[in-house]
């Protein structure tokens, strides 16, 4: 966007950086026991299928369509981040969840063990499919959709949703990143500086995060999202 690179190169490069973040984060989340590995594997079925579809669509869609889609997505994320609500809780366990033993428990901030159940597994899978399409089309992890689906449809606590989503985005991104790489869309001249930057940046961010209040981070992020979305939409409509 700032270097005037064609959006298709930018999308392919961004997928690489997502793998870097997700793999780095997955390492620490697995240790914390917040990631629901069983759930992640099941939902990856949906995201990988979606990513394949997205890669297919990406060769049919033109650049201005992508800008408009991306702009709308950023706008949507910004609005979603402003809307805050409490944690959800399900009292029923979906039959698929019972069969695969997806329900679990986690330690909350007060040190209390909280058990949770998993509702509406099929709807969750469908949402993951769409998240996968968006991921391949826009070069994003679409973690925000994954968390929304797990939180809204499957009624999984926020901590578990975000850890599990972070864990999954790497696999989602790999599905299309591998295809983009073989097609020659991932150029090291763009992807490598971005990835090295992301690896160093996420280390610093993880250390800085506990020191900053959550509301400040959220506000900064929303402003950045809004500016980027307007820029993308303008570019999409003008080309």
């Amino acid at each position: 966007m700032f270097f005037n690179i064609d959006i298709r190169y930018a999308i392919a490069a961004s997928l690489i950086s997502i793998i870097a973040t997700s793999s780095g984060a997955a390492a620490s989340f697995l240790k914390d026991h917040l990631t629901n590995l069983r759930l992640a594997v099941l939902l990856e079925l949906g995201t990988v299928g979606g990513a394949m579809c997205g890669f297919f669509i990406s060769s049919k869609i033109n650049a201005s369509g992508l800008y408009i889609l991306f702009g709308s997505f950023l706008l949507f994320s910004g609005v979603m981040m402003l809307r805050r609500k409490g944690d959800t809780h399900s009292t029923v366990d979906h039959p698929w969840s019972q069969r695969l033993k997806l329900a679990g428990e986690f330690l909350n901030e007060k040190g209390v063990i909280v058990p949770y159940k998993v509702a509406n597994v099929p709807l969750g899978l469908i949402c993951m499919f769409f998240a996968g399409i968006l991921s391949a089309l826009l070069g994003i992890g679409s973690g925000i959709f994954k968390v929304l689906a797990m939180d809204g449809a499957m009624k999984i606590p926020m901590k578990i949703s975000s850890a599990t989503s972070n864990f999954m985005i790497g696999v989602t991104a790999t599905a299309s990143a591998g295809a983009f790489l073989l097609r020659g869309d991932i150029r090291p001249e763009i992807a490598c500086p971005v990835s090295v930057g992301i690896i160093i940046g996420s280390w610093t961010g993880a250390r800085l995060m506990p020191k900053l209040p959550a509301t400040t981070i959220r506000k900064v992020f929303v402003v950045v999202l809004m500016i980027a979305s307007v820029q993308m939409l303008l570019k999409g409509f003008s080309t």
């Binding site: 793998i19 990856e44 073989l182």
Partner: protein, 121 residues
């Protein structure tokens, strides 16, 4: 149960080492191909479809080995989640969770199919 935690721990260690290794290779690639003059992204303002095979052949022919190291880093990074899914399948198999092991294998197969899509276009 102890074995399971060991395996999970090994998966996380593997991921961490993998990310660092891929990052190091990419950094080496950047340093090797670093140029001070001109806009480094000039060639990428217009989309130009060349397959990976052709790109690699071009770089080998021109003796641009720095770029090849970068590619190695990229391939390492992309293979990390792939290997992770493979390890997850092994983990479930060891636990005799055959249904979940099957699901992981299907995900793995999905990744392979997805990669091959890039070859055809």
């Amino acid at each position: 149960m102890k074995d399971l935690e060991q395996l999970e721990l090994r998966i996380s260690q593997f991921l961490r080492i993998g990310v660092v290794a891929a990052g190091a290779m990419m950094l080496m690639g950047i340093v090797a191909t670093f140029k001070l003059s001109g806009d480094p992204f000039f060639n990428f303002q217009v989309y130009d479809q060349i397959s990976l095979k052709e790109l690699l052949e071009l770089h080998v022919k021109n003796g641009q080995y720095g770029v090849l190291i970068s590619y190695l880093g990229l391939i390492t990074l992309i293979s990390l989640p792939f290997i992770r899914v493979l390890l997850t399948a092994v983990l479930f198999l060891k636990q005799r969770e055959y249904l979940l092991a099957l699901i992981s294998s299907v995900v793995l197969l999905g990744l392979v199919v997805s990669f091959t899509l890039g070859l055809e276009h």
